[in-house]
């Protein structure tokens, strides 16, 4: 009797000890938040990718969680962190990193890199230099570039030839682009049957295109070193917005109003617009759907050639348990490896941030077959970091709202930019007050 009681006690104690032990032995479960940046089939591709990772790493069980647009992904990640349920890794729009770092929502990756017996320089050295501006904050690594883009000029080569233009010598300056757009616009009385050029303007895209135009006009959009300043009310920006609005209202070669990205690509594919400025992220879509010859070219300049980086980086939110952090780091390294990032690049049209991706045999073969995929990589020499400030999204929206009014013909560029600057300054005030100076 005594024996059996002791046995029971022992069994119970063993059981109590065994439960946590068993829980510890299972695979580490991690969530990866991902937005769908291109089209729905990629959600399936992402599933395939994660399944492959799980098969190769039995000690980790990753789940891909779809989280909407880039902006929705930021909202969901922030809400999850505040609710005490941070995801283990997120594919986050590259320009949101600064704001998240300011709010202490990111894990500093330096120690994880050091634990791999490598240096920051070596680790970052894998990626194109142009991408590092959005990944490194105050000399610490906070993000790993995953899929990135630059804007491109897409040209319908058949229509260009028809109009007597040489598609092999694409327009290099704004003046030439205006000229091309005029020649490529077809009118039937007052009605336009074919637009010369279309540039998207919807939330997120609009700010990116304004940054592109401002940069090629010699200016800058924001302070790259400090998150509290944007330069909306400046001559370079005014020139850029005036040129864009002239295409619409003066030359009438650009469809009026703020057009979202999908409408622009659809109208290019259908031959309704002869040229468009759009992300290289749309390249695979254009390649698969265009029933005509097309050309991809650098974004034309007014003063200098320059483009902002776009796309997304992988991040690890702050406040995770050590084992999840480690598992997420394994996943991130695997996803950004040359083979995987090359595969993802071919599926989407984004360029692969890992330079070694372009040395893989599959990628070399792919580029030989599709030379248009090279343009974005070549353009990286003149690429600059993507707009990032304190409260990136609201600060960006102040400008986008005003640009939309201009394109709709409801406001003049100058008054729009003054209004945008004022609204943005108001949003940036708390950060400036806290960091650089005490504002009156």
């Amino acid at each position: 009797m005594l024996f059996s009681r002791r046995l029971m006690l022992g069994l119970a104690m063993a059981g109590a000890l065994a439960v946590p032990a068993l829980a510890g032995e299972g695979p580490t479960e991690i969530d990866l938040f991902f937005p769908v940046p291109v089209d729905g089939k990629l959600a399936r591709d992402m599933g395939t990718l994660i399944k492959e990772f799980n098969n190769g790493h039995p000690d980790i069980k990753a789940t891909a969680v779809y989280t909407g647009s880039y902006d929705d992904t930021l909202i969901k990640t922030r809400a999850a962190i505040k609710a005490g349920k941070p995801p283990s890794a997120v594919i986050m729009s590259a320009n949101f990193l600064l704001d998240m770092q300011i709010e202490n929502e990111l894990t500093n990756l330096d120690s994880l890199i050091a634990a791999d017996d490598t240096t920051k320089e070596k680790f970052l050295g894998q990626f194109f230099p142009a991408l590092q501006g959005n990944a490194v904050i105050n000399r610490s690594v906070y993000g790993v570039p995953f899929h990135n883009s630059t804007p491109l000029l897409y040209i319908n080569a058949d229509k260009a030839k028809e109009a007597g233009l040489d598609p092999n010598k694409p327009p290099q300056t704004w003046a030439e682009l205006t000229d091309w757009a005029k020649k490529l616009t077809k009118r039937d009385g007052d009605k336009v049957t074919q637009w010369g050029i279309a540039i998207p303007c919807a939330y997120d895209y609009c700010g990116w295109m304004m940054e592109t135009l401002t940069m090629t006009n010699g200016g800058r959009y924001y302070n790259e070193e400090f998150g509290g300043e944007v330069y909306y009310d400046t001559p370079s920006m005014l020139g850029a917005l005036t040129w864009w609005s002239d295409l619409v209202s003066k030359h009438k070669v650009h469809p009026p109003g703020a057009t979202p990205g999908p409408a622009v690509s659809t109208s290019f594919i259908s031959g309704n617009a002869a040229m468009m400025m759009l992300s290289t992220g749309s390249l695979t879509y254009v390649r698969e759907n265009a029933k005509f010859n097309y050309k991809v070219a650098f974004i034309p300049r007014n003063v200098r050639n320059a483009v902002p980086i776009g796309g997304a980086s992988l991040i690890i939110p702050a406040g995770l348990e050590a084992d999840k952090q480690k598992a997420a780091w394994t996943l991130i390294k695997w996803m950004t490896s040359p083979e995987k990032s090359a595969w993802w690049s071919r599926a989407t049209g984004y360029f692969a941030p890992n330079m070694a991706a372009y040395k893989t045999p599959d990628m070399i073969e792919f580029l030989n077959k599709n030379p248009d995929a090279k343009t974005a990589v070549e353009q990286l020499d003149v690429a600059k970091p993507w707009f990032a400030t304190y409260k990136t999204v609201p600060v960006r929206k102040t400008l986008e709202d005003e640009v939309m009014l201009v394109l709709n013909g409801k406001k003049q560029p100058k008054e729009a930019l003054v209004a945008a600057q004022k609204a943005a300054d108001e949003l940036l005030k708390p950060y400036n007050a806290e960091t650089s100076l005490k504002l009156p």
Partner: protein, 289 residues
């Protein structure tokens, strides 16, 4: 014109030979067509093969070689039966609890006397003016503390009480003559018996009007379920559908989107077509137009 003439022959006898009703009828038909076009386009685009190219995508004329490829694609990308089930669970779960809470709260505001009744009621109404997005973080934190993060119950919980429903039921209950309740009181009916046998049966039109509004709004809700749900197998329809409609960098597969959208709205559409008459009459009698 011939079509309008033919339709018109079925119009009520009394209005047949007047000019203005004729004009009104023609306008109604026009308006109906304007409403119908997006649905038509969705149907046409769903059946259009990708080989037609994007040029024909905006055409309303159906393709000569219709295909089910888009539907199959959409079906493969999303686990639609599961999404349907989840959305149905969410909508019915919310509605059932709401029925209880709005009946009791509506009754309290309509018929009971308690201290601070009017200010409390106005506080309730003020809720209607809050944008739901404002409450995402506090709600999510609460849901996580209750251990309901990533569960369907977590999606439902914030909507169990409804300010709008309470207001609607209060109005409905106030319109019921107190004599009926008095008669039941004389027969010895308890409070809950009175609610159950007098107030609820007499307010059925208000209940169904509320049910329609509640179900459609939660059927269409995107942001809140996106916040709460992580597991792919717990996604509702809206989140599942947006996997292939939300894009950031400018491309879209229209055929698949049309097919997906069709699958999402079909159940609501069919329900509406079947119960059309009852839905409309419930709005008329409950005073919402």
């Amino acid at each position: 014109m011939k079509l309008i003439g033919r339709l018109y022959r079925h119009a009520p006898l009394a209005t047949r030979n007047e000019i203005t009703p004729k004009l009104g009828f023609a306008l109604t038909v026009l308006l109906a067509l304007a409403w119908l076009i997006p649905f038509l386009w969705m149907g046409v685009a769903t059946l259009r093969p990708a080989s037609d190219g994007i040029n024909l995508m905006a055409e309303l004329v159906p393709s000569l070689k219709p295909t089910l490829d888009n539907i199959r694609d959409a079906w493969e990308i999303g686990d639609f039966p599961r999404y349907f089930l989840n959305t149905t669970i969410i909508c019915t779960g919310i509605l059932l609890v709401q029925f209880v809470t709005i009946t009791l709260a509506g009754f309290a505001f309509a018929r009971l006397d308690f201290a601070g009744k009017t200010p409390i009621f106005y506080l309730f109404l003020m809720q209607l003016m809050l944008v739901p997005v404002l409450l995402i973080v506090p709600n999510l934190r609460l849901v996580a503390q209750l251990g309901l993060y990533d569960t369907l119950a977590g999606v439902m919980m914030p909507f169990f009480a409804s300010a709008f429903g309470t207001f609607l039921m209060r109005q409905a209950f106030e319109a019921i003559p107190t004599e009926l309740e008095d008669a039941a009181l004389i027969d010895g009916a308890s409070l809950f018996q009175r609610i159950r046998h007098i107030y609820v049966p007499l307010s059925i039109p208000s209940f169904s009007a509320f049910a329609i509004i509640s179900v459609t709004s939660h059927w269409n809700d995107f942001l809140w379920p996106l916040m709460v749900i992580n597991s792919p197998d717990k996604r509702p329809l809206t989140v599942g559908l947006s996997v292939f409609t939300r894009t950031a960098e400018g491309t879209q597969a229209w055929g698949t989107i049309a097919a997906g959208t069709l699958m999402v709205i079909a159940p609501l559409l069919i329900t509406f077509l079947i119960f059309q008459k009852r839905f409309i009459s419930s709005f008329v009698t409950s005073g919402i137009k």
